[in-house]
């Protein structure tokens, strides 16, 4: 008896239909074989299926069973074929039909329960695309798959339930999507109001959050760079629906959605340690997985101690930062992951950290400082829009000036302003397939960033005086555009451009 069960294979963010064909033959020695380029995890599926059925009081047939994963020339990976194989075996045994237009997906535990499996949302999307009406997934992954509308999602608890469903004795109710409770907890551990001083740096953070600009903070150890970065998620706007889905897909592929989890609504904030490998950062592997840059898609990638990252790792960032997506090519497959993130980096001004510190002496030689700076290449620095200094805060000055303390704005009120600026950008770029000012190309700048006369004069004067490159010139316009958006202005005023100029990269080398 031959049974066909539909499932799918993941390749990056794409899914590909896979037919699981199970043949239970009356002739031949009893056995259980899987063919069709099954890798180790799929091969082991045999043992899981056999044990799970036994532990669910379903007798495993003592026949010759052959499973074929078709098309047979594409490598199959992962544990998601457990359920379709088990369904095929059971249907063959019970001599019953497999539900039509249905996709099966899920890993089995030896006790017969179904485990949370990565990629549920992609599977549901694939089902919708293919016109499949039903998908059967582990119960813990059901809410994730239910994000996709137009497909009936059945959350299966265990194999016994599945068997009952096949025989028509048990009913499984389709899951309806339940939005995750909006967490009222703040998105970050620090509130901007808690950070004393650093007015300029906070303002730069606000601009970065509003326009999706990359930002570099330079300052002595302990001046508050990391704290500022950690407070950044608190002022980022919420993800819109489309963005949420993009992020959720990536997290689903990477297996980063917890059991029972669902749509991701807060912007990702990733801060990998500087010992990260190139593949860890940009993604890769035999079966290409998204790296940190993709996991921070639509969010923030924070690289603390920027200069400590291996040069090769940082250089690998160049193209993804520019393009917003990355294609990983391996001999077996080629996948493209989006990575439109805001890069936030922090660095010390020199190896000892005290260059330009008002009180402490720097103990580095000129050569050491130059070598330290050279670790980050020009092209990388050139891709960072906002350069801001985070000076040491003199606590004494605060005790004298109470007004300053009360001046500090809370993350919530900054977030509101940022949200408004993002809304303006959303409306502006509705037809352009971009979301933020930082993503603007030259043609967009011409179209959407109108400089008032004063602003234009100021910019050309600055271009002359500071010998700005073409890229820096355009970058300043983008930043000024965001500043104008924050102020709710249609055109870019002189003062907007003036402020933007404060965030241009500066020279620190002692002469």
């Amino acid at each position: 008896m031959l049974v066909k069960v539909q499932s799918a294979a993941n390749s990056g963010l794409e899914a590909l239909g896979v037919d699981v064909e199970v043949n239970i033959s009356n002739r031949g020695l009893p056995g259980f074989d899987i063919v069709g380029l099954a890798t180790k995890a799929v091969e082991e599926s045999k043992e899981r299926v056999r044990a799970a059925m036994g532990n669910s009081s379903i007798e495993f047939p003592q026949r010759k069973i052959t499973v074929n994963l078709a098309p047979a020339d594409i490598p199959k990976e992962g544990s998601l074929y457990d359920l379709p194989i088990a369904v095929g075996v059971m249907a063959g045994m019970f001599q019953c039909n497999v539900p039509a237009q249905s996709l099966f997906f899920g890993e089995l535990s030896l006790d017969g329960r179904l485990r949370h499996t990565r990629g549920a949302v992609l599977m549901a999307l694939f089902a919708k695309e293919r016109g499949c009406k039903n998908i059967f997934v582990p119960q813990e992954s059901a809410n994730e798959a239910a994000i996709v509308t137009g497909v009936r999602v059945y959350g299966v608890k265990n194999l016994a339930e599945m068997a009952g469903f096949l025989l028509g004795t048990t009913k499984i109710k389709p899951v309806t999507y339940s939005a995750p409770a909006h967490d009222t907890a703040p998105a970050s551990e620090f509130d901007m109001a808690e950070i004393l001083g650093q007015e300029q740096a906070k303002r730069a953070m606000e601009i970065a959050a509003a326009g999706g600009h990359n930002i570099l903070m330079i300052g002595s150890p302990g001046s508050g760079k990391t704290m500022l970065a950690r407070a950044l998620p608190g002022i980022l706007p919420r993800l819109n629906e489309q963005e949420s889905l993009e992020v959720t897909k990536l997290y689903s592929v990477a297996g980063n959605i917890p059991p029972g989890g669902s749509l991701i609504t807060t912007r990702p904030f990733r801060s990998p340690h500087h010992t990260i490998s190139q593949i860890g950062l940009i993604g890769g592997g035999q079966k290409p997985q998204p790296g940190e840059i993709s996991l921070s898609h639509r969010g923030v990638l924070f690289l603390d101690e920027f200069n400590e990252f291996p040069r090769a790792v940082l250089e690998a960032l160049r193209q993804p930062v520019e393009d917003g997506s990355l294609t990983i090519s391996r001999s077996r497959e080629r996948v493209t992951y989006p990575c439109r993130f805001t890069l936030a980096a922090s660095a010390n001004p020199c190896p000892c950290g005290y260059l330009s510190h008002p009180k402490k002496a720097c103990s580095c030689s000129l050569r050491e400082i130059q070598r330290y700076k050279k670790r980050v290449s020009g092209p990388i620095l050139d891709r960072i829009d906002l350069h801001v200094e985070v000076p040491e805060v003199d606590i004494q000055k605060f005790s004298q000036n109470q007004k300053a303390v009360s001046m500090a704005e809370s993350s919530r009120s900054i977030q509101e302003r940022v949200g408004r600026a993002r809304d303006i950008q959303g409306t502006r770029f509705a037809q352009e397939h971009i979301y933020t000012n930082a993503e603007m190309k030259n043609s967009h700048i011409k179209k959407y960033a109108f400089l008032e006369l004063g602003a234009e004069q100021l910019l050309s004067r600055a271009a002359q005086q500071y010998q700005l490159s073409a890229r820096s010139y355009l970058k300043l316009i983008k930043i000024a555009r965001t500043i104008a958006d924050l102020a709710g202005r249609e055109t870019i005023a002189t003062s907007n451009m003036g402020e933007a100029l404060q965030y241009r990269p500066k020279e620190y080398e002692p002469r």
């Binding site: 001083g197 650093q198 007015e199 300029q200 740096a201 906070k202 303002r203 260059l355 330009s356 510190h357 008002p358 009180k359 402490k360 002496a361 720097c362 103990s363 030689s365 000129l366 050569r367 200094e389 000076p391 805060v393 000055k397 000036n401 007004k403 300053a404 001046m407 100021l458 004067r461 600055a462 005086q465 500043i483 002189t494 003062s495 907007n496 451009m497 003036g498 402020e499 100029l501 404060q502 965030y503 500066k506 620190y508 002692p510 002469r511």
Partner: protein, 320 residues
């Protein structure tokens, strides 16, 4: 004298490293003057361990050695150090005093530059063979010195590498050539103090530019003051020692009222008033003036581009 990081720096870990870092000078006029030569600087010849011969680049003119002021200081020059060096050394050099220094980056290099810019003469004493430039990245300055009629001298021939000991040997020549030595900024154990010690031994006048006690490069200066060095407030204090009196400080800086008239906007005016009192960083300005970083940033850019204020290492100054 203790060898700390600062004195050791630039010397390199091994000889080979230093050699590879020095770069050859271009071919130009030069030669060698022996101790017994008439052309040999008299003042230098008077010291006990005067070098047997001086190799030089540029055109030797004995007049250049008549009135010499050694200007030495830290490699870690602050913006204060740069400003006072430019101002005082510039004025002194413009009155015909030769500025002698050790060609190291920081105050030394700044002193050479200030002298050249003021149209004065300057002598750089190298710690390495006369055919090398050390530190290598200052090749431009090396050329500027000879082009402006100054001299590059060294007691070492051809490509003798710089080493820890050549730096302090070099300092004795700097002190030996000059009647007076001016220490601008010097941290604890700075190489400038070695030069000052030599100067003391040779009976030269030691002058210093006072500095803030919280500055990391003030300890050496304060130490010299305690030992009886003369504080310098303006170029006139230095020139007095060379018999140039009645020196009036030029009023280059426009009065604050003039700037205030030119500058538009109340925020900008307030910034100018505040910076006249003291240099500040941006966050402090925001606090003191009670304006947000956004408005302040745009005002600062306008003032910067207008040439009224300057930013150095995060601090804003009123242009002088």
């Amino acid at each position: 004298m203790e060898w700390n990081n600062e004195t050791r720096e630039g010397v390199g870990r091994t000889r080979g490293e230093v050699e590879s870092r020095g770069v050859m000078t271009r071919v130009e006029s030069g030669g060698v003057v022996a101790k017994r030569d008439k052309k040999y600087p008299v003042l230098l010849g008077g010291i006990k361990d005067a070098p047997e011969q001086l190799y030089y680049r540029g055109s030797w003119n004995s007049d250049i050695f008549k009135n010499c002021l050694a200007v030495v200081g830290t490699r870690r020059m602050t913006s204060y150090g740069r400003r006072v060096t430019d101002q005082i050394v510039g004025e002194v050099a413009s009155r015909g005093i030769t500025i002698v220094s050790g060609f190291m980056y920081g105050i030394d290099a700044q002193a050479h530059r200030a002298a050249i810019e003021a149209g004065g003469k300057t002598i750089a004493v190298m710690p390495c063979g006369i055919d090398l430039v050390h530190p290598a990245h200052q090749t431009d300055l090396h050329e500027d010195i000879t082009d402006s009629g100054g001299l590059i001298v060294s007691e070492y021939q051809s490509t003798h590498p710089a080493a820890i000991w050549t730096f302090s040997r070099r300092n004795r020549i700097v002190a030996g050539l000059s009647q007076t030595i001016l220490v601008v900024e010097a941290g604890e154990g700075s190489g400038a103090l070695i030069t000052a010690n030599f100067a003391k031994k040779y009976g030269r006048k030691i002058m210093v530019i006072p500095n803030s006690i919280v500055s990391p490069v003030s300890r050496g200066v304060t130490q010299l003051l305690r030992e009886g060095a003369a504080p310098v407030e303006c170029a006139g204090d230095v020139l007095q020692h060379y018999g140039i009196i009645g020196f009036k400080r030029e009023q280059k800086k426009p009065p604050i009222e003039e700037i205030l008239e030119e500058v538009e906007g109340e925020v900008e005016k307030n910034i100018v008033r505040q910076l006249e009192k003291e240099a500040m960083e941006v966050d402090e300005l925001a606090r003191v003036l009670g304006i947000n970083a956004s408005d302040l940033g745009s005002a600062l850019s306008l003032l910067q581009l207008g040439g009224y204020i300057r930013e150095e290492q995060g601090m804003f100054y009123l242009c002088s």
